[in-house]
Symmetry: C2
DNA sequence: CCAATAACTAAGCAGTTGCTTAGATTTAAC
DNA sequence: GTTAAATCTAAGCAACTGCTTAGTTATTGG
């Protein structure tokens, strides 16, 4: 009995995600989202409740997009080699042409304050923790490390991965690949 | 023939720097600076021109504060061992009690957009580049690496250092020290 | 074709941002 | 003591923030 939506919610979230990825959370205004998503503020709030809602949906979409890579890591049986492949795959995933945008999640973790955005922060931490779990799982496959060593190396790898999110805005592709290469030497 | 300033410019910048360090650039408002610095907005603008001016002075002060550590690195003759000491010294420097605040420069690089704040970005990049120069210098001391290897390892170390700025908000002290330890196993 | 319902547009809300300005107050040379 | 200059306070500026609301337009079952 009523009018139809003139937009597809998945399609507009795709556009929102790209904007957040390029721009960050705080410095992306609802007015910018309006233009990028191609719909009115009213429709944004009707569909996603508020700006936080738009971002949480963007993270969900980001998750499904990066799933191809994490799935490969999850299915891999190559131990630390599988993790290295994940690093390289991620670099490719985070690229838009010649520009590396880093990880949407890491970028946002770095930007927002936990006490100002607890819900978003929780979602982001969940995401990061899942990756660390996969690192531990793969490190166990190699069957030559003790439990403590595995935990320490997982932290080390997380640190390198977090670093890549910043480095990818400063270094070029050859440098980034070289960083990954050295990161996995002797591991 | 005129009234005297009721505040010391160096002292109020000290307070501004601490606030920026804790809070970041964008999310520190001039009203917050007013309260923290203990002076009126008029005085802020009279002394430092604008918010950007306050930040640039804060970076200068940060530079003199961290100088003790970089000086140690500059004077060290221990090659890669000197760099590792720098990492550990920095961890201590960036700590406020039990809380690690990361590097003011790295935090801000991560936060601001280059085209919105080109002057600030330039100052931050200059800072980072100086550190990388010291890394290269120390790597050369060990007298066992080729030129290409040295450049690659300097990038690798910058990546780890950048990572530490994020990691220090997620991991505890023991984990951070363990990350540093493993980072230098690879050189 | 009509009435009910949802989606649309656009104006506007209060609160915050960086920054400025008008006017009062303090200082110090004469 | 008067006067000129710099510093102070506090109010206010336009532009922006996330979000809401009043009113119009489109859709569809009866």
């Amino acid at each position: 009995m009523a009018r139809k939506k003139q937009y597809n919610e998945t399609e507009v979230i795709e556009k929102a995600m790209r904007l957040f990825w390029r721009n960050g959370y705080e410095s992306t205004s609802v007015r910018m989202l309006e233009k990028e998503m191609g719909i009115n503020q009213f429709s944004i709030y009707a569909s996603f409740k508020n700006k936080e809602g738009v971002f949480l949906e963007s993270i969900k979409l980001y998750n499904t997009r990066i799933k191809a890579i994490t799935d490969t890591l999850e299915k891999s049986n190559n131990g630390v080699v599988g993790i290295k492949d994940y690093f390289l795959d991620f670099l490719d995933f985070s690229r838009e042409g010649a520009i590396f945008k880093g990880c949407l999640v890491t970028n946002t973790v770095n930007e927002i304050k936990e006490d100002a955005n607890p819900v978003i922060m929780a979602a982001l931490k969940r995401f990061s923790l899942n990756i660390r779990v996969l690192f531990v799982r793969n490190l166990k496959q190699d069957d030559q490390r003790g439990v403590e060593e595995i935990e320490a190396q997982a932290d080390y790898l997380m640190n390198a991965l977090l670093g890549l999110s910043i480095s990818s805005k400063v270094f070029n592709e050859a440098q980034l690949k070289s960083i990954i290469k050295i990161t996995f030497l002797h591991l």
